[in-house]
């Protein structure tokens, strides 16, 4: 196969080049000409069942499916002639003839292809005088997914995803014609670790997520890209949060994390673990400096950093290398790790710099890696060695600074408590409240990855920069700011958090 072969064709009067073997739809898309579709999805095999992507091709008597027609040299394609427009209108009319039009209560409203296409290509007056077919509207199909058979347009994206990507094949289309509907085999619900993608790829509101249903509207959400911090793959994610009006007590800030597109890493999919990452952005967060596990009202983070600096200064410079111990983690960005190296290794010359982290899990062969920290490679790149913490070394320290709540992953609570009790001055820098909080003199609340900008290097060595996807929660600062301020307080010049 000559992958590099190019084919020249004309689409809507414009000369277009496309790779040999590409579909007309893809060639048009690459040229900036959008062709409406439902069943086509770039991450799935072509099915050609929705008939929405019909175009006119010179020399063909009938309209052709642009998703399944391969480009040929000299092909002349027209995507917006009267004939094409009329065909789209008819296809939409057929699809909408059996659609419940319950947009006001549908969670897909605002990001629904049926709505979008109707607005752009439909605009006909409804002619349906007949009663619409009633179908089941709330079928739990597993993993917190709800199927609404009335809204389904039978594009089979979900069916193909489960057969081609996860290879679990839970969903299928049963019966035929007007009786066709999506279904499960009895007693075999959707149960795979990529189930959340079904909600992303459903072009209409047929598959929705219990976690998102009826919580907010799509148009209130601010969507910003980030990199998933929940394993070492570094998948592109989109953090969808509400901004612009004050949140009521207990209201969610981040409504969902959805899959971003990155052909080099995750294609179009993310795993459910990454999707559930929305919880750790909002839930269980620390919002104020704690002293011995109790909120200290008057103390802001600069004061707490001053406390750390004072403790470090109380150790004579000559005794610092062994007397001050630090536990870092591989959730820190590469920039923060560089600061940490400058401060703790180069600046203070510490011998005891450890890395704590989540225990490795199971790799699933698709995206999820066994390693559950996002920047393990970044640690190596920063010139740090990822030594696991040694309890004796921690207990022997006169000052202990711990980043992240991960020590509990390494040690049993009793032993850890006893070891920490022996340390005269100890500080925890963490985004989430946890059992460690009351064991430390002070706890500083910091950002989660979605709230900061930085770089992670994934398991394959791919360096990925990301920007802040959601404003930091009240009262928290990035670890980088803590490190920079601590260095300044100690009279060390290590640059600052923003230096990339």
């Amino acid at each position: 196969m000559s992958g590099a072969a190019r084919v020249g064709l004309t689409i809507d009067g414009r000369p277009v080049e496309a790779a040999a073997g590409a579909s007309v739809l893809k060639a048009a898309e690459a040229a900036g000409i959008a062709i409406p579709h439902f069943c086509y999805h770039p991450g799935l095999e072509i099915e050609g069942n929705c008939r929405m992507c019909l175009v006119e091709i010179e020399g063909y008597p009938k309209l052709e499916l642009s998703c399944s027609t391969v480009v040929r040299e000299g092909m002349i394609v027209r995507t917006s002639t009267d004939r094409v427009r009329a065909a789209r209108k008819d296809v939409l009319e057929f699809l909408l003839a059996e659609h419940p039009l319950d947009c006001p209560i549908c969670d897909k409203a605002g990001e629904c292809l049926l709505q979008d296409h109707y607005g752009l290509h439909g605009r006909y007056a409804g002619r349906m005088a007949e009663v619409r077919e009633r179908r089941e509207k709330k079928i739990p199909i597993g993993r917190g997914l709800i199927l609404d058979r009335e809204r389904c347009v039978l594009c089979t994206r979900c069916v193909r995803f489960l057969r081609q990507v996860t290879r679990t094949g839970e969903l299928g289309v049963f019966e035929r014609a007007v009786g066709s509907e999506l279904g499960l085999a009895e007693g075999r619900p959707v149960d795979n670790d990529y189930s959340g993608n079904l909600v992303d790829i459903c072009p209409v509101g047929a598959i929705t997520s219990e976690d998102f249903r009826f919580r907010t509207r799509a148009w209130f959400l601010d969507r910003r890209p980030s990199v998933c911090p929940r394993c070492a793959r570094g998948c592109a994610v989109v953090v969808e949060s509400v901004t612009g009006y004050p949140l009521a007590a207990g209201e969610r800030r981040v409504y969902r994390v959805t899959a971003g597109v990155n052909p080099a890493v995750n294609g179009h999919w993310i795993c459910d673990l990454g999707r559930e990452g929305r919880r750790e952005i909002d839930e269980g967060r620390l919002g104020a400096v704690l002293r011995k596990g109790v909120r200290e009202p008057g103390l802001a983070w600069p004061g707490a950093v001053a406390g750390i600096a004072a403790a470090v200064r109380s150790v004579p410079a000559a005794e610092r290398p062994g007397g001050v111990a630090v536990v870092l983690n591989a959730r820190l960005t590469s920039e923060e790790l560089a600061l940490a190296r400058e401060l703790f290794v180069a600046g203070l010359g510490l011998r005891n710099v450890f890395f704590a982290g989540l225990k490795p899990g199971r790799a699933d062969g698709l995206l999820l890696t066994a390693e559950r920290m996002p920047n393990g490679r970044g640690v190596l790149e920063a010139g740090l060695s990822p030594r696991p913490p040694a309890l004796e070394a921690l207990a022997a320290a006169r000052v202990l600074i711990v980043f992240g709540p991960y020590l509990t992953e390494h040690f049993e609570a009793g032993a850890l408590g006893r070891a920490l009790a022996a340390v005269p001055a100890k500080f925890l820098v963490s985004a989430h409240a946890g059992p460690l909080d009351r064991l430390f003199d002070a706890v500083l609340p910091v950002t989660v990855p979605a709230e900061k900008a930085g770089t992670y290097t994934n398991i394959d060595g791919l360096r990925q920069g990301f920007s802040r996807a959601v404003e930091p929660a009240p009262g928290v600062v990035p670890e980088g700011a803590v490190l920079a301020r601590l260095a300044r307080s100690l009279g060390l010049d290590i640059g600052d958090a923003d230096a990339r």
Binding site: R163, G169, L171, G172, V173, F174, G183, L184
Partner: protein, 157 residues
């Protein structure tokens, strides 16, 4: 005929791993048992390596597959346009009356299954009835008794 794992195995064996043979294997099973028992569908999915829902999808798509046990004699009454116009409905009613079941059901003794279809493609013979594969054209309610008797005689022979 009761469904036995061995009996199924014989039918499924030669299609093992051949995803495209799904319809053939379902036809073989249907020929033998006159319906598609759930355990057969599971066995087919496993042997061919296709998801169970896909097997169900095909099995429910085609009218010639039944997911409930069918009688020894299958009576199919056509109610397509031509048959309908020429009195197919009255023929169907007569079948229902004589067999004591509604269209789509099987008699409790397992002898007869009555089906209605939308067209058998032989409109010149309207109204048309097919009993055990034998076509009976130009049917009338009066002929129903004779058609059923002929089927019973075939069984006895």
């Amino acid at each position: 005929m009761p469904v036995s794992p061995n009996g199924l195995e014989v039918l499924v064996r030669r299609y093992r791993g051949r995803r495209r043979a799904l319809i053939q294997v379902l036809q073989d099973i249907h020929d033998r048992y006159r319906w598609l028992p759930p355990e057969a569908l599971e066995r087919v999915a496993e042997a061919l390596g296709v998801p169970l829902v896909q097997v169900y999808g095909v099995a429910t798509f085609y009218k010639s597959f039944s997911l409930t046990p069918r009688g020894r004699h299958v009576c199919t009454v056509c109610l397509g346009t031509a048959c309908h116009v020429r009195g197919g409905a009255a023929v169907l009613e007569e079948f229902e009356r004589r067999l004591g079941i509604a269209a789509g059901r099987t008699t409790s003794d397992g002898r007869h299954t009555l089906e209605r279809v939308n067209c058998l493609g032989a409109c010149a013979l309207a109204p048309l009835v097919v009993v055990d594969g034998h076509y009976h054209g130009q049917m009338t309610p009066v002929k129903v008794g004779a058609v059923l008797a002929a089927a019973a005689k075939d069984e006895a022979a």
